[in-house]
């Protein structure tokens, strides 16, 4: 019964309700304006809401997150630029629809489908998370360690670009996270005898630099590009359209939840897999896929919003983020003194149910804002980049400064901004860096706990892995990711799956 009360917290306090609404509204637009991203918005907001109470801060950020995942589809449809990784697949059929002058229909269907997918995801989260967290209590330190490695590797290998670069980025993130005095032995790590480094590098500074400043610098290349004007008319889809696609949307939502719930895989993978699934099961698409098929829009959009709920499962129960955005959400919880993991679910179940309530509310707001205010929307999206870019930079600086009131953090942020700019240009994914920074502590602690409990014996450590089914599954998955990138695997795959195996 208390769970229900906690769940309803957000509905009974108008202030929190307002914040979720505000966040969702902002999220939709942030996701939709090319040059602004959810990761950027949430990482900057963490620092601003730092001094707030936990509830209002979480309400705002969940709103932004939910709205942003959905908002990313807008630019994908209108400009063929996915506003968030999860909208990559949306562009495949959404943009062709817009080219045919059906942008309004595309946006309408996307909105309703995101809503349906979002609800299914949240439902599964509410049912599964308590069970998973009970199960997670049996996890050994080595399992946590393996999970962390698996998460970083998955983000690195499944995002676009090469696995080697992803691995490099992930390892770099872990190293950045290790800077400073070791919390257990107080030994200095990577400080190079600079006093300034002893406290470590603020992960907020890294996040804002990588997702704020580096993105803004990259945008400078496109200052002169005009926003595309689109005439958008009717956008609320008819009930018949929704009913027609309901069976598909239920299937793809389940795909979304499952993929989202795996550590290291988030909405982007879910959307691509769902798109693939739709291609396979749809016998008669409204148009061929890739040329503006409605099914090609329904599948990724239900899946990526369902993945939001799914992604909260490992995040809340294990403390392992699914992708860059959830990594940042974990950072937000850290900042407010919460430590996501099985103990959070036991010590503070109210927090969990409160988050579920916020998600539900954000999902409803998303539907409302998605189907209204289309006039305002076209105005905001046309905001000139010559103003937008300097403002992003200013906000990044303010954000980096605000957490610790330290100018050093601003320098770090700028440094990582420039570094991130180069990484982007040369095809190094930034997601694994953030994941590495966030998971560095967890990885380090659990490795040391695991190896100490095995009396510093590597042989016994591996024996432990082999004899525990869970550890073994995790270990084999890690190995499989490596093998999947070698030529042997590619050969085997083409032999088994034929030419289809090329997509990955």
């Amino acid at each position: 019964m208390t769970a229900l009360m906690d769940f309803l917290t957000v509905f009974t306090q108008p202030q929190l309700l307002l914040l979720v609404g505000l966040g969702t509204f902002a999220g939709v637009y942030v996701g939709a304006i090319p040059g602004l991203s959810v990761t950027m918005a949430v990482s900057i907001l963490i620092s601003f809401t730092f001094s707030w109470d936990v509830y209002p801060a979480i309400s705002l950020m969940i709103g932004i997150y939910m709205g942003g995942v959905y908002g990313g589809s807008r630019t994908a449809i209108l400009l063929n630029i996915p506003g968030a990784p999860s909208a990559i697949a949306t562009a495949l059929d959404g943009y062709p629809m817009a080219l045919r002058g059906e942008a309004g229909t595309a946006i309408g269907v996307t909105t309703v489908m995101s809503f349906i997918g979002g609800f299914i995801g949240i439902g599964v989260l509410a049912l599964a998370a308590p069970l998973v967290s009970d199960f997670a209590l049996t996890f050994q330190p080595r399992d946590y360690m393996l999970l962390a490695i698996l998460g970083i590797l998955l983000v690195g290998s499944l995002s676009q670009g090469s696995l080697v670069k992803g691995i490099f980025a992930g390892a770099l993130g872990i190293a950045i996270g290790a800077v400073g005095r070791d919390p257990l032995t107080f030994a200095e790590r990577f400080t190079f005898d600079f006093q300034i480094l002893e406290g470590g590098i603020s992960f907020i500074a890294v996040m804002i630099g990588m997702f704020g400043v580096s993105e803004a610098l990259g945008q400078l290349h496109h200052v002169d590009k005009d926003a595309v004007r689109q005439k958008i008319s009717r956008i609320v889809p008819s009930l018949a359209t929704v009913r027609k696609h309901l069976p598909l949307s239920l299937q793809t939502s389940s795909i979304g939840v499952v993929i989202g719930a795996l550590p290291g895989t988030g909405g982007d993978i879910a959307a691509l897999m769902a798109y693939d699934h739709a291609k396979r099961v749809t016998k008669k698409p409204s148009r061929p896929f890739g040329e503006g098929a409605m099914e090609g829009l329904v599948a990724p959009e239900t899946a990526n919003n369902a993945a939001v709920g799914g992604a909260f499962i490992p995040m809340m129960t294990l403390g392992i983020p699914g992708d860059a955005v959830t990594a940042i959400m974990i950072g937000a919880l850290f900042i407010h003194g919460l430590n996501p993991g099985p103990m959070l679910m036991i010590d503070q179940p109210d927090m969990f149910w409160f988050i579920v309530g916020c998600l539900v509310m954000a999902n409803v707001f998303m539907l409302i804002f998605g189907l209204t205010g289309i006039k305002l929307f076209t105005k905001i999206v046309e905001m000139p980049r010559s103003v937008l870019i300097p403002l992003i930079m200013l906000l990044s600086i303010v954000g980096a400064y605000a957490v610790n009131n330290s100018i050093t953090d601003v320098y770090w942020m700028l440094g990582f901004g420039v570094f991130g700019y180069f990484m982007r240009h040369y095809g190094y994914p930034l997601g694994p860096v953030i994941l590495g920074v966030i998971l560095s502590r967890l990885l380090d602690d659990n490795w040391r706990r695991a190896i100490i409990s095995e009396r510093e014996d590597l042989g016994r450590f591996f024996e432990g892995i082999v004899t525990s089914p869970l550890s073994l599954v995790l270990f084999v998955s890690v190995i499989l990711i490596f093998v999947s990138q070698t030529p042997i695997w590619a050969k085997a795959k083409t032999r088994v799956f034929g030419r289809k195996g090329e997509q990955q």
Binding site: G35, S47, F48, T49, S51, W52, N80, I81, A84, A87, A91, Q160, G161, V164, K165, F168, A171, A175, A178, D182, T185, A187, E188, R189, F190, E215, L217, G218, L220, H221, P384, S386, I389, P390, L391, M393, L394, L395, I397, V398, Y401, A402, N405, I407, V410, L414, V418, Y421, F422, M423, R424, H425, Y426, G427, L443, W447, R448, I451, L458, Q504
Partner: protein, 189 residues
């Protein structure tokens, strides 16, 4: 997965990291080599933490990760070196055009001035210069837009988010106090 849109290969959205699949971008090799050097330096530094003292030493994970960094960065160099240099791009035009350098300089200048001048004057200067450079509009428009958005940002973050920025030469606190007394009787603040 191929890039969906060849126009956006420089990673202008989180979704699409830059880089070219089959070609080497200008400066890519230098960056990759720099990463090898950095990894080597970090590995050395990680070794310095505790050496090979114990598997559970504070240096174990740092050494393992920097070793992974070193190996992967070497693999990247080996791969990059084989790729042909792209003919369509130059360092000065596509990777580091003047506008990027100017903005990097502006950001550094901002960082340096922030503590002495304070948040409001520094940001005003930054926004005016930046928007003037990018917008290429008249001074009136530039100043109006810059100061308008600065005022908005300041109001939101100073009042709503209660973020304290270095006040520098502007007597910010006195200013706010003045308004508070003006609207006296509001105990909420």
């Amino acid at each position: 997965m191929q890039h969906l849109d060849p126009e956006h290969h420089d990673g202008n959205s989180d979704a699409l990291p830059g880089g070219l699949e089959a070609e080497r971008r200008p400066g890519e090799l230098a960056f990759a080599i720099l990463m090898v050097a950095a990894s080597l330096g970090l590995l050395w530094s990680a070794y310095g933490i505790a050496g090979f003292e114990a598997l559970s030493s504070p240096g174990a994970i740092p050494m393992a990760t920097t070793a992974v960094m070193l190996i992967s960065s070497i693999l990247i160099v080996l791969k990059v070196v084989k790729l042909p240099l792209t003919r369509l791009e130059t360092l000065a035009k596509d990777i580091l055009p003047p506008v990027i350098l100017i903005f990097a300089a502006l950001l550094i200048a901002y960082g340096l001035l922030l503590t002495t001048l304070g948040f409001l004057p520094t940001s005003a200067l930054f926004l005016i210069v930046a928007i003037k450079i990018l917008g290429r509009r008249g001074w009136g428009w530039t100043v109006l837009v810059s100061l308008g958005s600065l005022l908005l940002i300041w109001l939101i973050f100073r009042i709503v988010f209660t973020v304290l920025m270095p006040s520098g030469i502007v007597p910010e606190a006195e200013f706010i106090q003045y308004f508070r007394t003006l609207f006296a009787g509001d105990p909420a603040q």
